[in-house]
Symmetry: C2
Subunit: 338 residues, 2 copies
Amino acid sequence: MERATIRDVAKKAGVSITTVSKALNDYPDVNPETRSRIQEIARQMNYVPNVAGRSMGGRVDKVIGLLINDLRPIDPSGSVYGILSGVCHACQDNNIEFILMTTDSRQQTQRTLKVLCLRKQLTGLICAGFRLHDPYLQQLDEIDIPCAFIDIRTDNPDVLDVTMDNERAAYEAVSFLIKNGRQNIALVNGGPDADVSILRGSGYRWALEEAHLPVRPDRMLSANFDASMAYQKTKELLDRDPAVDALFCASDLMALGACRAIEEKGLTVGEQIAVVGFDDIPVARYLYGGLTTIRQDFYLMGYMAGKAIYQKIEGQHDVHVDHMMYELVVRGSARGKL
Amino acid sequence: MERATIRDVAKKAGVSITTVSKALNDYPDVNPETRSRIQEIARQMNYVPNVAGRSMGGRVDKVIGLLINDLRPIDPSGSVYGILSGVCHACQDNNIEFILMTTDSRQQTQRTLKVLCLRKQLTGLICAGFRLHDPYLQQLDEIDIPCAFIDIRTDNPDVLDVTMDNERAAYEAVSFLIKNGRQNIALVNGGPDADVSILRGSGYRWALEEAHLPVRPDRMLSANFDASMAYQKTKELLDRDPAVDALFCASDLMALGACRAIEEKGLTVGEQIAVVGFDDIPVARYLYGGLTTIRQDFYLMGYMAGKAIYQKIEGQHDVHVDHMMYELVVRGSARGKL
DNA sequence: TTGAAAGCGCTAACAC
DNA sequence: GTGTTAGCGCTTTCAA
């Protein structure tokens, strides 16, 4: 059977399509009996309004799009997944349509952000996974819908920044190591194209400077958030610089790679070399006697972004997203004496 | 500025809307010069065809929907994420629209699967995260679009089953333990509402029976794929049954919980109690000297499902998805002597 | 309380 | 090679 249209329902109910439309859209000027009769018939016929038709008729559904840059086959930190499910649930809770879109640097040069928004008829946009040189960051003025970016600063005042205070979190992590007697702390950072790397790097330097410890470029590694690259570079570091007694890693995954390098070198994680990670991935507590790390909540980030965009769509003016909470979770890989 | 319509473009180009439509949709009967002039004007005006209008005009885009049941805030095994990104990439590669939908047991009772498909105008459907008693499994006859289910058998011959041979994989894992001298192997399984639990459980029994080892119900735990429940139940098991010398766990996450219980009891993972997990999550190699586990590839599952559904949509008749590959990855938590 | 009619943006016969 | 026209399914005035 073909899909039932409003006309089919009208015919079966012996009324006009206008009346069916009104009945199904809860207009007040319909006889209650007529309404329920029509609703029943529609249900029986499996009638579902054609969205295209509705849209043409002038009833456009509001839609929040989540645009993920560079969607990878796996997501070891769970960040993308957490954001996705958070936005999704925020949309459900607020009864607004949600769609997922993806892009990458090539596609960003082929199709403008504006055109992307028009194509999907977006009412609101949330972006995640973007890096500092991505073309879309320059096109934010062109779109005229509420927009939020996760974990990257946009320097556009109309765009909501959803992130935590990465600089301060890194500062706290490194300060914690210092307070516990570590003096030769190296940094295993992500790539410089990620805004969070920059912030975590400056938090690291801030803590060292405050403690009057030298900031040594040769102790600042860049491992692109990749476990095996972290492993490799940490190994080299430990070979050339035996004084290192602690590592601050900008992700738990890199911390894992680093820990493996430490153990292979015959050193112990926690005792000889303290390690602090970042993210608190679900398995962090099981790793190397428990990974000390900065916990952040990607689900909540997504949820907050979704909720804020919804509020903007609904015309609220003073919408603003606070810095997300974080927490230093102390476990075996870097014990506290305090 | 309001959104440009085809009429605006036509006016600016001094041609009819028909010509614009033809030019933009690569019809042959348009003067090449006219075509490129129109394309240029459309680009300048940021013209994007209104999908609703297109759809009304009779040009319906094909859409594959991925329906996820019970989307959780986190996805520790990465299975949902992997499937999602796989389907997404398959759709990109085949140039077909992709949409993500979610449901749960409550929503399944409120809206039929048929209505869901109609609402989203789906051309193809892929379902993941479903459990044996979910209502939608009974409604498969009602939908008339190509459909695939991931990791659950549907007993509907028209529905593609995308999964690996879970029974055989479990059989191999347990046989491996037996061959390496383990005689008292317990099972830490997922809940009985997951089809894979049933299959992995029967693979476990198969291996024991083949080796003429007793199948003891008191050694078969059910921990709902949850790490802390696995921890708890394993602890109880080890207390009451000191003979246990190996554990086969139906997920790496549960294996983690079990390993923690083992270590807390003062036993060593690998030596005294061998542990085999399931999934090979990205961090498995870093856990407990490397977790021995069955590797599966969720991304590929999603990709294959997407590709197969696409082929069915395109009218291919003999579409069929082979069992996905798996592999026993031997690491420290259960060494092989062979 | 109901219905006739216009129109949303687009495509596709078909005529020119 | 180009334009005219009908119509897709729906909502929404506005008149009855």
